[in-house]
C-alpha cells in the first residue's frame, strides 16, 4: 500500500515542498508520534503477537492426562489446516457469509445513511427530534441491542406477532441471515448518516445559491455539487463500515447463535477456535481475516477514491474556489 502510494505522491508534493521548511519531517513525526505510540502499544503489539501465535500450536494431552505445556513451532500448518477438508468447507462458507453480509449491509446502510443525512440537513420543523431519533439505534449499546433483537425475533416475539406468522428466525436459512441484516442495518446506518451530515454541513451555502442562480435542478445539484463535495466524508464512512462489517461478530453470534452455518462469519470462527483454547489456529483465522480486510480496503481506496485523502484535497480546493466566487 505504502509503496505505490508514495510512488504516486512526488509530482504534487514537489511543487509544494518549497513552501515548507526542512524541519517539516521532524515536526510531522513529532506531531504524529502520540497517535502512533498508542496504536503500536495497543494494536500493533497484539497483532504482532497474534501473527507469531499463528505459527505455533499447543494443547496436546500427554499420557499423564495433563495438557502438554509450552508451544511448538509448526510453520504454516495452522494455515494449511484451515484450507483442508471439512475445515476448508467451513472456512469458505464463513468467507462467503462475511462477504455477503458486508456487501448487503454496507450498501443498505449507505443508501439509508445518505438519505438520513439529507433529511437531517434539510431545515424544517422538528429537525432536532429527527436528529435525536436517528441517533438512537447507534447509541444503544450492542450488548443491549443484540438482546433486544433476539427478543423481537423469538418464536413468540413481536416480529412474528406483527407479521402474523411463525417464522423461526434463529434456525438455519434465509430468515436468520435476514434478521442479522435487519439488525445491523438498523444499528449502523446512523453512523454513515452522521458522518455524511457533517460533510454536508461544511458545504458553504453560497455553493447552493450559485447553483440555484444557474437554474440547476435539485437532482443535478445533488449529483454535481452535493455528492462530489460530500464524497470524502462518505468514502471514509463507508470504508470504516466495510472494515467493521467484515469483522462482524456480535449480531450473528448473539442473535442466531454459534455453529449456525447460515450466519457463521470469519470472526466467529476465530472466536470459536480461541474459545476451545486453540490459540494457534484462532490466530491463523484472525490473520487470514486481517489480510482479507486489508485487501478489500486497499481495493476500495484504489478503485473508488484513487485515494480518499487525495480526492479530498482536490474537491477541497474546488470548494474553496467556489466559495470565493460566491462571496
Amino acid at each position: 500500500m505504502s509503496q505505490s502510494a508514495s510512488a504516486v505522491e512526488p509530482p504534487p508534493s514537489k511543487v509544494r515542498r518549497t513552501s515548507f521548511n526542512e524541519g517539516t519531517g521532524r515536526l510531522a513525526a513529532l506531531l504524529l508520534s502520540p497517535t502512533l505510540i498508542v496504536l503500536v502499544l495497543v494494536v500493533v503489539y497484539p497483532i504482532i503477537s497474534a501473527l507469531r501465535e499463528s505459527l505455533y500450536t499447543s494443547g496436546g494431552i500427554g499420557d499423564d492426562g495433563f495438557v502438554v505445556e509450552g508451544t511448538q513451532f509448526v510453520g504454516l500448518d495452522n494455515f494449511a489446516a484451515i484450507f483442508s477438508g471439512e475445515t476448508g468447507e467451513r472456512f469458505w462458507n464463513a468467507f462467503y457469509n462475511t462477504t455477503f453480509f458486508t456487501v448487503t449491509c454496507v450498501v443498505l446502510e449507505t443508501l439509508l445513511g445518505v438519505l438520513m443525512a439529507l433529511v437531517m440537513h434539510k431545515a424544517f420543523k422538528g429537525r432536532s427530534i429527527v436528529r435525536a431519533s436517528i441517533l438512537v439505534p447507534w447509541a444503544i449499546p450492542t450488548v443491549v441491542s443484540a438482546l433486544l433483537w433476539k427478543w423481537i425475533f423469538q418464536a413468540d416475539g413481536v416480529a412474528n406477532a406483527v407479521l402474523g406468522t411463525q417464522v423461526l428466525w434463529s434456525t438455519e436459512g434465509w430468515q436468520s441471515v435476514l434478521s442479522v441484516i435487519i439488525a445491523d442495518t438498523w444499528k449502523t446506518a446512523p453512523f454513515i448518516g452522521l458522518l455524511v451530515l457533517a460533510g454536508l454541513q461544511t458545504i458553504p451555502d453560497e455553493v447552493y445559491e450559485a447553483a440555484k442562480v444557474d437554474g440547476a435542478s435539485p437532482w443535478k445539484t445533488f449529483t454535481r455539487i452535493t455528492l462530489p463535495l460530500v464524497k470524502p466524508a462518505l468514502l471514509v464512512a463507508v470504508l470504516f463500515r466495510i472494515l467493521d462489517t467484515l469483522r462482524i461478530f456480535d449480531l450473528p453470534y448473539v442473535l442466531v447463535g454459534p455453529n449456525k452455518e447460515s450466519v457463521e462469519t470469519l470472526s466467529i470462527l476465530a472466536f470459536l477456535e480461541a474459545n476451545q483454547t486453540r490459540y494457534g489456529p484462532a490466530a491463523a483465522y484472525a490473520t487470514l481475516l486481517f489480510v482479507y480486510v486489508a485487501v478489500v480496503a486497499y481495493a476500495f481506496v484504489k478503485l473508488l477514491g484513487a485515494d480518499v485523502i487525495g480526492e479530498a484535497r482536490q474537491t477541497g480546493k474546488k470548494a474553496g474556489r467556489r466559495k470565493k466566487g460566491g462571496a
Partner: protein, 439 residues
C-alpha cells in the same frame, strides 16, 4: 533532506527496536514459569490470607450472606466476591484468560460441572487431597464424580441440578391419567389430554432443542433414557447403537408428529418455560428453577398451582437426567490455597447448603438435605429431584469438552431439523467423537 532521511532511519530503527522488545516480552511471558505453581501436585494446600471468589452473578443476593458469614469468622482471611457476567461462556472465558496470564486475581473458581476436566488438565486448578475433605461421603455420589478428573479430586460440588418433567396436573387429572414414567405412557397421556377441549391447542412435550449446551443435555437424556450411552463408562464413545437410535428417535419422531412443537427447535430454557407457563405445553422438561416461577400468582403464569413434577420418563422405565450444577475449585495461581480450601469446605457444609436452598431453591449436593421434612414442605419437588440427580449421568468428562459438545449439538440438531437421518447422525457423531476422545 539529508536530515529528514537520517531522522526517518532513526525512527525506523527505534520502531523496530521497540517492537523487538515487545516481541521478546511476548515470547517471555508465554514461556516463563512453565513449571506453574505446582498446580498438579496433590500435596498440602498452603498459604493463608484474603482471597477472591470468582463466580457468576449472585442471583438471589444470598451468596453475599454466605460470604458474610465466613468473613465474620475469618477477619484475616476475608473473601471478596468477584461477579462475572451472566453468560456461562463469558464466565469461562474470564477464568481461562486469567489462568492464561497466571493471574492471582481469582482464588476460588465457581465452575460449571462440565469444565472440571479442562481446568484440571490445563493445570489451572489445584488437585484437592480427598482426605482434607472428609464430608465428601455425605454428598450425592454422582455430584462428587463431576469434581474429578482421572479419579483425582479437583473440585467440590456445592450446587447440583437435574432435569424434571413438569406436567399439567389439572389436565392429567381431568383426563384420568397419572404422571408417566415412560415415553409411551407420556404419548398416551398426551393423546387423552388433548381430547379435552381446553387442551386442544396445546402441544405434548418440549425440552431445550436450540443449538446450544441445552441440546447436549436433552440429547444425552434421550440416549441414556433408552439405555444407550454417548460415552461409555470406559471413557470410549459408543453412540452408534440401536439403543441410542431409539432414544434419538423419541425426539425426532416427536418433531415429525407435531407432539413436540416446531418452535421448540429454538427453545432454550426460557422460551420453553414461557410456553409451559402460557399453557401451550402439557409436558415440559426443565430444571428445578421453573417450579417457583411457574407457581407465581402475580399473573405471569397461567398455570400456577396446576402442575406437578415427576422424574424424567425413559423408554422402558424412569429416564436418566443429565447432571448439572456447580463445583468450587482452587485456582492454581492463588497464593492462599489453605484459606481457599477452608472456604470451599465452609460453603459445601450442611449448614451453608441448607441456608442456600432455603434462600435460592438451588439444588443442594448434601444428600440428607433432600430428606429434610421442612425443606420438602417448602420445595415439594425435592423428592423427584433427588431421584433425578441420584440416577443422573454426567456429560462426558473430557478435556476438549467444548469440541465434544459442539459435535453432539451438530449431530442432534441435524437429526431434529430433519436434514440428517438419525442413523447417519449417530454414525457421524461416533466417528467425530472417536477422533476427539482418545484416552
Amino acid at each position: 533532506m539529508r536530515f529528514e532521511r537520517s531522522h526517518t532511519r532513526k525512527a525506523v530503527a527505534l520502531t523496530v527496536a521497540s517492537s523487538l522488545v515487545l516481541f521478546a516480552a511476548a515470547c517471555g511471558s508465554g514461556d516463563d514459569g512453565s513449571g506453574g505453581s505446582g498446580g498438579s501436585s496433590g500435596g498440602a494446600l498452603e498459604g493463608r490470607g484474603p482471597i477472591k471468589f470468582a463466580t457468576g452473578k449472585d442471583t438471589s443476593g444470598n451468596l453475599k450472606n454466605q460470604v458474610d458469614a465466613w468473613n465474620a469468622q475469618h477477619a484475616d482471611e476475608k473473601v471478596e466476591i468477584t461477579e462475572l457476567p451472566e453468560s456461562a461462556d463469558q464466565q469461562r472465558n474470564q477464568m481461562i484468560s486469567n489462568a492464561q496470564i497466571k493471574s492471582t486475581e481469582f482464588s476460588v473458581l465457581n465452575l460449571d460441572v462440565v469444565w472440571t476436566a479442562e481446568f484440571a488438565a490445563n493445570r489451572w486448578i489445584t488437585e484437592l487431597p480427598e482426605d482434607q475433605f472428609p464430608d465428601l461421603g455425605k454428598l450425592l455420589p454422582s455430584t462428587v464424580e463431576t469434581g474429578k478428573y482421572r479419579d483425582k479430586l479437583y473440585a467440590v460440588p456445592v450446587t447440583s441440578d437435574g432435569g424434571l418433567l413438569y406436567y399439567r396436573k389439572d389436565l392429567l387429572d381431568k383426563a384420568g391419567v397419572k404422571a408417566p414414567t415412560t415415553w409411551a405412557e407420556m404419548k398416551d397421556a398426551c393423546a387423552k389430554v388433548k381430547a379435552l377441549p381446553e387442551a386442544k391447542a396445546a402441544s405434548c412435550y418440549a425440552g431445550q432443542f436450540e443449538k446450544y449446551e441445552g441440546l447436549t443435555v436433552n440429547f444425552s437424556e434421550a440416549i441414556n433414557g433408552a439405555g444407550g450411552v454417548v460415552v461409555g463408562d470406559d471413557g470410549k464413545p459408543n453412540v452408534d447403537t440401536p439403543e441410542a437410535l431409539e432414544g434419538l428417535n423419541f425426539l425426532v419422531d416427536g418433531f415429525k408428529s407435531g407432539e413436540i412443537p416446531k418452535a421448540a427447535i429454538t427453545y432454550q430454557e426460557e422460551p420453553g418455560r414461557r410456553a409451559f407457563q402460557e399453557g401451550n405445553l402439557i409436558f415440559h422438561r426443565n430444571w428445578p428453577y421453573v417450579y417457583a416461577l411457574a407457581n407465581k400468582t402475580d399473573g405471569s403464569s397461567k398455570i400456577a398451582g396446576k402442575f406437578g413434577v415427576a422424574p424424567l420418563p425413559g423408554l422402558k422405565g424412569p429416564g436418566v437426567s443429565t447432571l448439572g450444577g456447580h463445583n468450587y475449585a482452587i485456582s492454581a495461581f492463588t497464593p492462599n490455597k489453605a484459606t481457599a480450601a477452608d472456604f470451599i469446605k465452609f460453603m459445601s457444609s450442611e449448614e451453608r447448603q441448607k441456608a442456600n436452598v432455603e434462600k435460592t431453591s438451588q439444588a443442594p449436593t448434601w444428600a440428607s438435605l433432600y430428606d429434610d421434612p421442612e425443606l420438602n414442605k417448602q420445595f415439594p419437588y425435592l423428592a423427584p429431584l433427588k431421584a433425578s440427580i441420584g440416577s443422573a449421568k454426567s456429560r462426558p468428562q473430557v478435556v476438549k469438552y467444548g469440541d465434544v459438545t459442539t459435535a453432539i449439538q451438530e449431530a442432534a440438531y441435524g437429526a431434529l431439523n430433519g436434514t440428517t437421518p438419525p442413523k447417519d447422525a449417530l454414525a457421524g457423531l461416533q466417528t467425530k467423537l472417536s477422533t476427539l476422545i482418545t484416552q
